[in-house]
Amino acid sequence: MTERRFEGIGATPTLGVGAAVWYRPTDVTDLDEPPATDAVDSAAERERFEAAQADARAELEAERESTRDRVGDDEAEVFTAHLKFLEDPQIEAGIEEALDEGLPAPHAVKQAFAGPIEQFEGMDGMMAERADDLRDIRDRLLRLLTGTERTHLGSLPEGSVVLAELLTPSDTAQLDPEAITGIATMEGGRTAHAAIIARSLGIPAVVGIGEDLDGIDENTELVVDGEAGVVVADPDEETRQRAAESTQTPVIQEPVETADGQAVEVAANLGTPAEAPPAVDQGADGVGLFRTEFLFQDRSAAPDEAEQFEAYREVCATFADGAADGDDTGGPRVVVRTLDVGGDKPIDYLDLDPAENGFLGARGIRLSLDEHADLFESQLRALLRVAATDAGAGLAVMFPLVSTVEELEAALEQVERVADDLDNEGVEYAIPELGVMVETPASTYLAEAFAERVDFLSIGTNDLTQYIQSAQRDLDRMTDYQDPLAPAVLRAIDRTVTAGHAGGAWVGMCGEMAGDPDLTELLVGLGLDELSMSAVTIPDVKTRIREVDTESAEELAASVLEADTLATVQERL
C-alpha cells in the first residue's frame, strides 16, 4: 500500500506514531421537534436547566482542577472562561426568554447559544475560536440535559492517534499523554485551546486538515508530524524509519556538562562484551561497571588467564575505538569489577552454599581473598596485562563488597604481588586505576579511609539499599524497603561522596538509581562525578545533565537530605 499524506497545521513540534482511533461524540444538538408550548411545564423545565447548569459547573471545576495538576495553571484557565460563559447574564437571559416562550430546556439552551455562536463565528482569528468555546459549553449542557453518555477519551489503548472533526478544550483535557501518541483534527487552528493543551501535554498534533481526514479508517497506522503539519497514513518503510529515529531522545556522542559547565561522566553497565558496541552507539563515555561473572557462569571449569585477557581487551578496544572520551586517563575509562559471586549466583565448580555464601556470608571480595584466591590471581594477571595494551589505557579495576580496610589492603597487596610476578616473568603489565565498590554500610563509614588508598569509589545502590535497610533484595515482601530514595540510603550516599572526595578519590554510582533520568538532578547535586547505567537510558540522562544547574541541584539535594521519610523525599523531588 502506498502512503497517503494529509496536510494541516502543525500544533506541536513533536512527532508520534500510532493507530487511528476515531473520536465521534454523539451529536447532542440533534433534538426532536419540541412539543406544543402548552404541553410544557415551564417551571419544571427551569428546574431542569438549573440542575444541568449546576452539574456543568461541578464538571468544569473538576476539569479545571485536574488540568491544573496534569498540565498547568495557564491551561486550566480555559475552564475559568467556560465557567464565566456558563453563567453569563446575556446567555442566562436568552435561556429565560426561551423557557418563557414554552420551549423545553434543551431547546431553550440551543436557541440561546445560537446567536452568540453565530456572532463570534463571523469574527476573525482568535474571536472565531471563542465560538468553539461556546459550542463546547452548549454541548456540555445539552449532554447533561438529555442524559447522553459522555464519550470518554481518557481510557484509550497505548499508541492511539485520536482523529476527530474537532476537539474541544474539555475533550483535550481528558487526554492521557502516556497513551495517546498523536492528534489529528479536521478543524481548529494553532491558537485553539485544544492545540495549546496538546502542546503542553507534549502530544504531537496536526489540526485543520479538512474533510479529507475522513478517508482514514479506524486502526490505520499513522505518523503524526506536528512540526511539518502532516499526517501520513500507511507510512512506507522510509517514513516509518525516520519517525522511529525522531521519536527517541537524540544520542549525545560526546561527554556532557551541566548548564553551568560541570563535567559528569556517563558510563554503561555491561554484563558481557557483546553489550559494548550498543553502549557505544547510545553515547556511553565509557564503562562504569563491567561484571565479570558471565565468564565464569554456565560452564564446568573457570576460564583461564588467556580467555579473560581477550574478553577484557575486547571491551576496552570497543570503547577505545568508538566512545566519547570523558576522562583524562588517555582512553575511555572501563571499570572492570573482579568476580562477585555468592550463594544466589550458583557456579557449579565453585561449590557455593546458599546459606554459607548468602547475602551476609562469604561472597565478593571475601571469596577472592580466601578460598578462591587462585581465581582472583588469574583475573588480576589478565587485567594488569590488558592495562599495558594501547586499548587498555583507560582500564580500571574495582573490588566488590569490601567492608574493612584490612580487606582492601589485602586486595591491594595481591595486585602488587601479581605485578611483581609479571615483572619477574618479563610480561608487559601496568597498574590500572583501582577502586572500591561501596555497597555495605561499613564501607560508607570507611569511605574516606578507602579513598586515601585507591583512585575511586563507585556506589552500588542495589546492594547498598539492601544492606542499609536490612531487607533482602530478592524477597517480594521487602519491596517497600528497596527504594534507594529511602532517607537512610540517601544519607549513606551523601556521606560516601563527601568522604570519598575528602580522601582524594572520584566517586561514581553504578546501581539502578544512576539510570533514572528523574533523579539525575539530585545525583549531580549530591556531587557524583560519574553515573553508570544500562545503555538505553544514557541519552535521557545525558540530556538531563545538560539542563542541570549545579547550584539549584545542590539546593535540591540539601532539602531532600533533610527529609526524614520516604514520602517527604518524594514530595521534595
Partner: protein, 96 residues
Amino acid sequence: MERTLTVVPDDGLHARPAATFVETAGGFDADITVAAVDGNRPAVSADSMLGVTGLGVRGGDDVRLVAEGPDAEAALDALEVILSTPEDELDEMELP
C-alpha cells in the same frame, strides 16, 4: 466614575485575561460597563464574559470603564491592574 485605559496583555480581552477581568468585576457590588474607545459597539456589562470577549479588544487598544456604586473606585483600581499587567505576569498576582 469612569476611567480610560490602554490594554496591555497582547491577546487583549480574550480567553484568560477576559476570564480574570469578568471574575474580578463580578466580585464588586458596583455596576461596571466596558467599551472599546474606538469601537462602534455599545458598552457591555463587565460581568458578562460574552459581552467582554465580544468587544474584540486587542492589546494596545483603549477601553473606557464606567462604574457606579459604593465600591466603584476600588473596582476600577482592581480592573486597571488586570488591564495593565502583561499576561505572563498575571498568575503571580494576588488579585483582589
